[in-house]
């Protein structure tokens, strides 16, 4: 069976406030979908309805075609989820907590034991397997939560900002885990504020703002939709560069569509002509022997699209 997630006119009000407004979304197949949106957009609200933590005001959510609202047990049986930062009974150890979730999911002893080892290894918590979770730091608890959501090797994985509270190495480990998950036939639906993480691991992105879906498309379609815009690159030099030099040497170069100063040694330069324009500019700049030490996109294309869409949504 192809894993799938579907929201049919999913709506949630809190009093008169509409947190999610008739969301229609169907995701199907083995892939990773990034769920983006500013704070308060309704991402967690959506995911909580997909896991039956809260109820829709109207509409319905389906996992593999099974209505979560009608049969949470069956719908969630194929699903591993991590919504915000749940707590585990503090006196239990990771081993016991995973044993409990595995048993509740109907896994047998041997399976639970071997999977516990695997997932704890994956989140780098093997050394803590018999310590009390109550004494763990926030990031350590989140690692256990991630391990628990992957224990049954689920077909559908729902993650709400999985790298919340993790240190930089933890964040990069989460990316590796998700990349690893993609090797199985698995649908991953993940909310995140870390656009680089989304670019790194996701195939498709959905953008939510004020409870409304702004777009849902493949990552490459989304970023190429930005080709019409003018991205900016950050240039750094080994010594300060004067405004006069910038005007005289850099502004006349082909593709340069404007510039601003970041600090004495760094500039942000708008470059027309997409990737070709950028590579030509870099070659020309190198030829000028200005002491260029850095050249990189100021923002990713996804970030540009995100900011453009969110600001049009606000106005």
């Amino acid at each position: 069976m192809t894993p799938s997630l579907e929201a049919r006119s999913l709506t949630r009000r809190f009093g008169s406030f509409v947190a999610l407004d008739h969301l229609d979304l169907k995701v199907e197949g083995a892939k990773c979908v990034g769920f983006l949106g500013p704070n308060g957009a309704g991402k967690t609200t959506t995911l909580k309805m997909f896991t039956d933590l809260i109820f829709p005001t109207s509409g319905e959510a389906f996992i593999n075609g099974i209505s979560v609202q009608n049969d949470r047990k069956r719908a969630l049986s194929v699903c591993g989820d991590l919504i915000e930062t749940p707590e585990i009974y503090p006196s239990l150890s990771p081993r016991e907590a995973l044993e409990m979730s595995g048993a509740l999911r109907g896994m047998d002893h041997a399976e639970i034991r071997s999977r516990t080892e695997e997932v704890l290894e994956e989140v780098k918590m093997s050394d803590w397997v018999d310590k009390k979770i109550g004494r763990f730091s926030k990031g350590m608890k989140q690692r256990i939560n991630i391990a628990a959501s992957l224990l049954s090797d689920p077909e559908v994985v729902l993650l709400d900002e999985p790298s919340t509270g993790l240190d930089p190495r933890g964040m990069s480990e989460v990316r590796d885990i998700i990349r690893g998950l993609k090797k199985g036939r698995r649908l991953i639906f993940m909310s995140s504020h870390i656009l680089s993480e989304v670019v790194d691991v996701c195939d498709e992105v959905a953008l939510l703002d004020h409870g409304k879906l702004l777009f849902f498309d493949t990552l490459s379609n989304v970023t190429s939709s930005f080709a019409g815009g003018t991205p900016s690159v950050d240039l750094s030099f080994k010594a300060p560069i004067s405004d006069a030099d910038v005007e005289r040497l850099i502004v006349p170069l082909p593709g340069v569509a404007g510039w601003s100063r970041l600090d004495p040694r760094r500039l942000a330069v708008k470059v027309a002509g997409g990737a070709d324009g950028q590579s030509q500019l870099l070659e020309q700049l190198a030829g000028l022997r200005l002491g260029l030490v850095g050249f990189r996109e100021s923002r990713s294309a996804l970030e540009e699209v995100y900011l453009r869409e969110i600001s049009t949504g606000d106005s």
Binding site: P86, E96, E99, R105, S152, P154
Partner: protein, 297 residues
């Protein structure tokens, strides 16, 4: 996974242990599984130590009182002895166990966010409620049995083998105490489900049982002249009857405050059983119904 190795967390297709629809245990089996881990958490918690200290304290006080006064009425036969020590202490122990283990059982799931972990699993809300109920019941039973052992130990000291000659009344009393425990836990779980804050749940149940019901009961009997059959605390007085005998349903006794007589109602054992069973059923159904509708926002 940083560095060399390929992440192994994704199992390759064929030998995959993938969760599938058919494998998830039944609702009841899941409740039992959940209760095992919940009980483990209870037995390791500070509240269990607290509860055991209460039982120990009650035990010590009873032991000391009997040792000091050696009341002849108590130490001449086992039924009187158990009627005096067990019956009164048991409902007290049950009340505290109910409050300590049941008061925040559901509220705590919201407040401590542990419910968010459980509800992410393929379980019915009913399963969580029932599993927690079973665990609270088991933890309370442990303390009740410890109390029973303290009382029986005392009896053995004063009565020797006589303590064990006629155990049927004590057993009957224990069964009634169990019924009271069931009903009381149903009641505390309902309030725990109603208030999502542990402190409120615990406070309301404690105040109701320690003062509220007493006041309602005396208003009902002395002012309205009706039998307070609707109070679980009224029904719980039957716990001692197998040992002490059932008092008359209505007695008129001289008021200790002078002037006139007072009416005292006592339930019969079947009546008490019916009231407690009613409490258990109604509060459990209501609590479950409520929890089914509760959101983890």
């Amino acid at each position: 996974m940083s560095g060399t190795g390929t992440p192994s967390v994704a199992m390759s297709g064929a030998e995959s242990s993938r969760a599938s629809l058919g494998r998830v245990p039944s609702t009841w089996a899941q409740a039992v599984i959940l209760s095992r881990y919940q009980l483990r958490d209870y037995l390791r918690s500070r509240r269990f130590v607290l509860m055991m200290s209460i039982v120990a304290l009650v035990g010590v006080i009873l032991t000391a009182v009997v040792a000091y006064f050696r009341p002849a009425s108590l130490i001449d036969n086992s039924s009187d002895f158990y009627g005096g020590l067990w019956a009164g202490g048991a409902s007290f122990v049950i009340l505290f166990a109910g409050i300590i283990f049941g008061g925040d059982a559901i509220a705590g799931e919201f407040q401590n966010k542990t419910g968010y972990f459980l509800m992410g699993l393929p379980v019915q809300r009913t399963t969580v409620y029932t599993g927690k109920y079973l665990a609270a019941l088991a933890a309370s039973l442990v303390t009740l049995v410890v109390f029973l052992l303290i009382v029986v130990g005392n009896a053995a000291f004063y009565l020797g083998p006589g303590a064990f000659t006629n155990l049927a009344p004590l057993l009957a009393s224990f069964v009634l105490a169990l019924l009271y425990l069931l009903a009381l836990l149903g009641f505390t779980f309902l309030f725990s489900s109603l208030f999502k804050t542990s402190l409120y749940a615990v406070l309301v149940v404690a105040v109701l049982f320690l003062f509220g019901f007493t006041i309602i009961s005396s208003v009902a009997t002395s002012l309205a002249h009706i039998e307070p059959w609707f109070l679980i605390s009224y029904a719980s007085s039957i716990i001692g009857y197998p040992l002490t005998g059932t008092p008359p349903h209505i007695a008129h006794i001289r008021s200790p405050f002078g002037g006139g007589t007072m009416t005292v109602y006592s339930p019969s054992i079947p009546e008490g059983i019916a009231i407690m069973a009613g409490y258990f059923l109604i509060t459990s159904l209501l609590g479950l119904w409520l929890f089914e509708r509760e959101e983890f926002t």
